[in-house]
């Protein structure tokens, strides 16, 4: 039986896991990655929730294995359009294949669109992505902040910016970063402002409890309505403390916005060229949400990772395995 070619669009953790699994099953995966390096967004994270392991512990073994297995990788390549038998790249190259796995992930919400929080306008307003990078590079402010506010649901669960969906992993990221801040600055007061706390994964609720019980992280149920700069460079924030029914005001030295995952702009183009369906959120719509959650509505095109919805890294890695199995199953049926 000849090895069948499967093009994997996107070389993040979803793409790499899919490729490795397909190779293990005797197929020929080809990874197309837009960036100059494999690893996707996870490469930019510092420590991963809920166990605080370095992100490199997840990404690097995958990257090494892709290399060791001699999997064909195209870096710095954008996909213009594709269908189940052909993928067309921006440089004009065309790759014929037997199936396609779309693993191109999602986009981080641009916090500047929520102008009322002043990201990109005032100093001392950061996104959770900035904090990951600053922590990883050891660039956190040397002087301990007196008070830090972490705001949940920036660019998710918000119809004002056309992002109605829950981005799922920001809550636990907020808890993780609050603990990291308390470890770095034990004297600082850390306040998390949330609408709902959604601790969906194993060990997450326990970490939330630990943040409260052992690190004295304050949780205020209420969305910050606005942030404004003070003379001394602090940021004044306003919210309702909904559990006491009173408006609340405070100045903070750092305001951290937990930015959500939104659908890639490319999804629209891909959906048109390949005849795929989008969900209301703009993410790709899987064939169904149970037995067919890695299949698209078109034969021979499959999904893995955050292309279909926000997901945690563990869930994405599982999908990589499942999608490879589904692809092999499909290819075997095609050959009868």
């Amino acid at each position: 039986m000849r090895a069948r070619k499967v093009v994997i669009i996107g070389g993040g953790v979803a793409g790499m896991q899919t490729a490795l699994r397909l190779r293990a099953l005797g197929e020929e995966p080809i990874i197309i990655e837009r960036e100059a390096q494999l690893g996707g967004k996870v490469r930019n994270w510092y420590l991963l929730f809920p166990t605080f392991i370095p992100s490199a512990d997840v990404v690097e073994p995958l990257m090494r294995a892709v290399k060791e297995q001699g999997i064909e990788v195209h870096l710095g390549c954008e996909v213009v359009q594709f269908d189940n038998h052909r993928v067309e790249l921006a440089d004009g190259e065309r790759i014929d294949c037997d199936a396609v796995a779309l693993c191109s992930g999602s986009t981080i919400f641009d916090a500047r669109l929520k102008e009322e929080y002043g990201y990109g306008i005032y100093d001392n307003v950061y996104t959770s992505v900035d904090i990951e990078r600053m922590m990883a590079e050891g660039r956190m402010p040397e002087r301990s902040p007196r008070r830090v506010a972490i705001l949940h649901c920036v660019g998710s669960r918000d119809e004002k910016v056309c992002q109605r969906h829950c981005s799922k992993v920001c809550c636990i990221t907020g808890v993780k970063q609050a603990i990291e801040l308390k470890k770095l600055y034990p004297k600082a007061d850390v306040f998390n402002f949330y609408m709902d706390i959604r601790m969906f994964g194993p060990g997450y609720e326990e970490l939330y409890h630990t943040a409260q019980r052992n690190y004295n992280v304050h949780f205020v149920r209420g969305r910050i309505s606005e942030a404004s700069p003070l003379m001394d460079g602090c940021i004044q924030i306003k919210a309702e403390d909904t559990l006491t029914g009173r408006p609340l005001r405070m100045s903070v030295d750092m305001l951290i916005l937990l930015v959500g995952m939104r659908a890639n702009d490319d999804n629209v183009r891909f959906a048109e060229s390949a005849g795929l369906r989008l969900a209301d959120s703009g993410f790709m719509r899987a064939a169904d949400l149970f037995a067919g959650n890695v299949r698209s509505s078109r034969e021979g095109i499959f999904y893995a990772g955050t292309i279909t919805a926000p997901k945690s890294i563990g869930e994405v890695l599982n999908e990589g395995v499942v999608v490879a199995d589904s692809i092999v199953d499909y290819l075997n049926k095609q050959e009868g």
């Binding site: 706390i197 409890h209 403390d241 006491t244 009173r246 408006p247 005001r249 100045s251």
Partner: protein, 111 residues
Amino acid sequence: MASVNFGFGISKPRVIDIDRNNLRKSDEILLEMPELQTCIGCGSCTASCTAGNLTSFNFRKVHALVRRGEYAGAYEEMNKCMLCGKCRLLCPRGINTRGVVMLIKRKLGDF
């Protein structure tokens, strides 16, 4: 000329101003009983509270205000608690709610 009273006055701001509130007592309370910080605001304490069903006493709200440095009236409110302990049987976070009542009364009694 005497000023005319039109019946207008200045309302006291209802805002909880964390910059102005003195959080020392609140910090002491949380240091002595860190489990209080784990309250998720479910309200089962208040739902089961006999005092809360007959008076305006709301245990969840009072301790939340105390944690934000709003101490005024908290001691008097806590005096409405009859220490029956039903709330402690229900608390999903396992907070020693009766202990919280006694601690707040002890810390704020001289306030």
